[in-house]
C-alpha cells in the first residue's frame, strides 16, 4: 500500500523484564506509605531510594551513572511505579528526557557531572520550553541569549513550568540574539542551556492550577548569566535538540496509567457480578487500556532497536489522553456521586481529581491538535 502505516509490532517481554517486575513490586510494598492515587509528588528520598536500586537512568551507559539495562526493563519499572501511584516527580523529567538529551548532545564534562546525579535521584530537572506567547508554537520563543565574555546573558519568561519550584536545573530553550540569525528561518538561532535555577536573576513564581494546587510556575529570567560550559549542544541546533527531547517525553508510558487506581475503584464498586451495561462500559475501558499497553511495549521494543518512534509515540499519547479523559465521563454514568476533592469517600475524590485534571492531559507535552499534525506529517500530508 502507498500509505505509510504506523508500526506496532507485537512484542513479548523478555525474561529479564519479567524478573525485574517482582523486585519492583517488593520495593513498592516496602514503600507503600508513600504510594497514592496521584502521581507527581516530589519526594527526593523516594527518588534516591530508586536511584540506589539502579532504576533511574537504567538504559544509560555505566560510565555516566547508568545501568545499561534494556528498554524493556525500564518500561516495566515505570509501568509498575505508575500503577502503584509512586511519587516520581523528583527524578521523572531527568530520567525521561533531560538525562537522555544530555547524553545525546552534551559535552563529556556535562555527561560526567549531570547524568550520575540524575541517576542517583539527587538532581531534579524541569522543562524550560513554554512561554506566555510560545505554547504550541515553541519556535516562537522570545527568550533571548546574548554571547558575552565567558558565557551568555539571558532574558525572557518561561511559563507552565511543572515542578520548577522543586527543581535544581532546567533545560532552557531560547534563541540567540545576534545579527547573523536568519530572520526568515523560524528555527534559526535556537539554542538550549542547562540552567541552574539558583543563578542570580532567576525568579520562580507559582501559578496555581484549577485544582487549587501549585504544580506549575512562571520563571522570570533577568540578565541571567550562564557560563559557556552549560551550553547544551550547539548554538543554533536547539530545534533539533528540542525535537529529540520531545520524542523522549512522548514515548513514555505515562499517558494512560495515571488513573489506573480509579479504574480499579470502579471495578470494586461494580462488584463481582455487575449488570450488563456496567460490565460493557468497564470492559470497553479495560480493552482500551490493554491495547494501549501493548502499543507502548511495542514502542519500548522500537527504542531497543535504536529506532525513533516519533509518530507511534504521538499516536499512543493522543489515544492515551483520550482514554484518561473518558474515565471520569464513564465513571459518572455508572456511579452517581458528587465529586469532592478532599472527600473521605475515595471514589468522590478520584472523580473530582480526574474531572478537573482532564483538560490538562491533551495540552501538556503537545496538544491534541499538534500531535495529530505530527501524525498527519507522518502520513505524508504536510
Amino acid at each position: 500500500m502507498a500509505t505509510p502505516m504506523f508500526r506496532f509490532d507485537p512484542v513479548e517481554l523478555p525474561p529479564e523484564a519479567i524478573k525485574i517486575r517482582g523486585e519492583v513490586r517488593a520495593f513498592i510494598e516496602e514503600h507503600k506509605d508513600v504510594m497514592g492515587f496521584t502521581r507527581g509528588e516530589h519526594n527526593p528520598e523516594f527518588s534516591q531510594a530508586m536511584g540506589k536500586k539502579g532504576w533511574i537512568g537504567m538504559t544509560w551507559p555505566k560510565q555516566y551513572g547508568g545501568h545499561e539495562r534494556t528498554s524493556f526493563e525500564r518500561y516495566v519499572v515505570i509501568e509498575e511505579m505508575l500503577v502503584a501511584g509512586a511519587p516520581l516527580s523528583a527524578h521523572y523529567t531527568g530520567d525521561r528526557q533531560s538525562g537522555p538529551n544530555i547524553l545525546r548532545f552534551g559535552t563529556e564534562e556535562q555527561k560526567n557531572f549531570f547524568c550520575p546525579k540524575i541517576a542517583a535521584g539527587e538532581l531534579t530537572f524541569c522543562i524550560g520550553m513554554s512561554e506566555p506567547n510560545a505554547g504550541s508554537d515553541v519556535a516562537g520563543t522570545r527568550t533571548r541569549a546574548v554571547k558575552v565574555d565567558g558565557g551568555y546573558r539571558i532574558n525572557g519568561t518561561k511559563l507552565w513550568t511543572s515542578n520548577a519550584h522543586n527543581a535544581d536545573y532546567a533545560i532552557l530553550f531560547c534563541k540567540m540574539s545576534s545579527d547573523d540569525v536568519d530572520a526568515n528561518d523560524r528555527h534559526a538561532g535556537a539554542t538550549q542551556f542547562l540552567l541552574d535555577l539558583k543563578t542570580p536573576g532567576v525568579e520562580i513564581r507559582p501559578v496555581i492550577n484549577l485544582l487549587g494546587e501549585h504544580h506549575f510556575n512562571e520563571i522570570f529570567l533577568t540578565d541571567v548569566f550562564v557560563p559557556d560550559h552549560l551550553l547544551l549542544g550547539k548554538e543554533g541546533n536547539g530545534w533539533n535538540q528540542l525535537t529529540s527531547e520531545l520524542a523522549f517525553e512522548r514515548s513514555a508510558p505515562d499517558r494512560f496509567l495515571v488513573l489506573f487506581q480509579m479504574l480499579q475503584q470502579m471495578i470494586r464498586m461494580a462488584g463481582p457480578t455487575p449488570d450488563r451495561s456496567t460490565a460493557a462500559a468497564l470492559g470497553k475501558l479495560i480493552s482500551q487500556l490493554a491495547t494501549l499497553r501493548s502499543m507502548s511495549v511495542s514502542i519500548a521494543g522500537m527504542l531497543m532497536e535504536g529506532l525513533q518512534p516519533n509518530n507511534e509515540s504521538a499516536v499512543v499519547k493522543d489515544l492515551g489522553t483520550r482514554y484518561e479523559q473518558d474515565i471520569p465521563v464513564v465513571a459518572r454514568q455508572l456511579f452517581a456521586t458528587e465529586p469532592e476533592l478532599e472527600a473521605i469517600d475515595l471514589y468522590a475524590s478520584m472523580l473530582a481529581r480526574s474531572t478537573m485534571n482532564a483538560p490538562r492531559l491533551s495540552i501538556q507535552g503537545g496538544t491534541r491538535e499538534i500531535l495529530r499534525g505530527i501524525i498527519a506529517r507522518g502520513l505524508g500530508l504536510r
Binding site: 500500500m1 519479567i18 455487575p274 479495560i286 487500556l289 490493554a290 491538535e369
Partner: protein
C-alpha cells in the same frame, strides 16, 4: 520480537496473490452470489487454508499466528472466500480425526444462541437444531459443525451437497450467510467423532471472533489507505483537500484507529498457543471489543474524508466499510465481547486487574 521472516514472506506472497486475483470486479461478481472459484483455487493451491493442520492430516504444522496474519491480508482485499472458515473447519475436523477435502468449507455454529444436538440412532446419529448464518454454507464442499452429544461436544462433518438445503441469507457485504435447520437429520457414524484436545464450541467461537477482528484490521488498513490517497488527489478550493487541517486531523484519527485495530488484533493473536484457555478467551475478548470500537469510528471518518464519491457503488471504499459493518457483528459484537471483558475482570476483582494485564 520483530515479525518472523517466514511470516513476512507469507504475507508478501498472499498480498501479491490478492492484488492480482482479488480485484474489485472479482469481489463485485462474488457479491451477486457467484462463488469466486478461481480466487479460491489460487488461495487453496498456496496451502494456506489447511496449513495449521499437522502434516499427517495434509497440513504444514504452520503457526496460527502466521495464518491469522494472512487473514489480515484477506481482509484488506475484501476477499470473498471462506478462508477463515476453512482454516477453522479443518482445525475442528482434524482434531476429531475426521476426513476433509481441500475444497472450501464452513464451520459452525457461529451464533452463540444456536443449539445443535446429536442423539444415537443405531450405528449412526440424528442431528437436531439450527446453525444460523453459516458463512458460505451454500458454496461449501464440507460443513463442519460442533454439536452436543450424549457425552459432550462432538465434531460433525457433512458433505455440502448432502446437507439440508440452506435458507439463503447474506450480510450487508453480500457475503452469503446461510441457515441450516436439522430435523432428525441422519448422519453416518464415520462423520461424527469427539473433539480433540483444545477444541470446543467456546474455542471455535472465540477464534472465529479473532478471525473477524483480524480481517477487520486489514479492512481498516484498506479504508485508511484509500482515504489518505484520495485526500491527496481530490482538489477543492484550488488545492488538495489533504492540505486542510480539518481533513488532516480526521486522517490522523483514522490512522490512529487503524493502528489500534492492528495492535488489538495482534494482542488476540499473541494469546494463541499460550496453552491457557482463560488467557486466550479474555485477550480475544479485548481484541474483538477494541477492533469493533475502532471500526465504528474509522468507517465514519473514512467516509467523511471521501465525501459523496465514497458513498457510491463504483468506488471501492464501500467494499471495506460494508465488510467492517458486517464483521463487527459476527462471532459476537464488540458490545457483547465488552460485557465478557467486564464480567471477567469484575469477577477476578480489582486487585487482579494489573497482574493479569501485565501477564502476572
Amino acid at each position: 520480537m520483530a515479525i518472523r521472516d517466514e511470516t513476512r514472506m507469507l504475507l508478501e506472497s498472499m498480498g501479491r496473490l490478492f492484488e492480482d486475483l482479488c480485484t474489485k470486479q472479482v469481489v463485485d461478481a462474488a457479491e451477486t452470489g457467484v462463488f469466486a472459484a478461481d480466487l479460491w483455487r489460487a488461495v487453496s493451491e498456496t496451502g494456506v487454508p489447511l496449513a495449521a493442520l499437522p502434516e499427517s492430516a495434509g497440513g504444514a504444522d504452520a503457526e496460527w499466528s502466521d495464518l491469522y496474519a494472512a487473514l489480515r491480508v484477506a481482509g484488506r482485499f475484501s476477499a470473498p472466500i471462506p478462508l477463515a472458515e476453512t482454516m477453522l473447519a479443518g482445525w475442528v475436523a482434524s482434531s476429531a480425526g475426521l476426513e476433509i477435502g481441500d475444497g472450501p468449507m464452513t464451520v459452525g455454529p457461529v451464533r452463540a444462541a444456536d443449539k445443535l444436538a446429536l442423539t444415537r440412532d443405531g450405528n449412526g446419529w440424528r442431528l437436531n437444531g439450527t446453525a444460523s448464518r453459516l458463512p458460505y454454507a451454500s458454496h461449501a464442499e464440507k460443513i463442519v459443525l460442533i454439536a452436543d452429544g450424549p457425552d459432550g461436544e462432538m465434531a460433525v462433518v457433512l458433505e455440502g451437497s448432502g446437507a439440508p438445503s440452506p435458507a439463503k441469507g447474506k450480510n450487508i457485504a453480500n457475503e452469503s450467510r446461510d441457515t441450516l435447520t436439522f430435523d432428525n437429520f441422519h448422519v453416518s457414524s464415520d462423520s461424527v467423532a469427539p473433539l480433540g484436545e483444545g477444541v470446543s464450541r467456546a474455542a471455535l467461537y472465540r477464534r472465529g471472533a479473532l478471525a473477524r477482528a483480524t480481517m477487520m484490521s486489514g479492512a481498516l488498513e484498506r479504508a485508511m489507505d484509500l482515504a489518505v490517497t484520495y485526500a491527496q488527489e481530490r482538489q477543492q478550493f484550488g488545492r488538495p483537500i489533504s492540505k486542510f487541517q480539518a481533513v488532516q486531523q480526521n486522517l490522523a484519527v483514522l490512522s490512529e484507529q487503524t493502528a489500534v485495530a492492528v495492535a488489538a488484533a495482534n494482542l488476540g493473536i499473541q494469546s494463541l498457543g499460550c496453552g491457557d484457555d482463560e488467557r486466550e478467551e479474555f485477550q480475544i475478548a479485548i481484541a474483538k471489543t477494541r477492533v469493533g470500537e475502532a471500526a465504528t469510528l474509522a468507517c465514519e471518518l473514512a467516509h467523511q474524508v471521501h465525501g459523496a464519491i465514497g458513498f457510491t457503488k463504483e468506488y471501492s471504499l464501500q467494499l471495506a466499510t460494508r465488510r467492517l459493518w458486517s464483521w463487527r457483528e459476527e462471532f459476537g459484537s464488540d458490545p457483547e465481547w465488552a460485557v465478557k471483558v467486564g464480567n471477567y475482570f469484575c469477577g477476578k476483582g480489582a486487585d487482579r486487574l494489573w497482574p493479569i494485564l501485565a501477564g502476572e
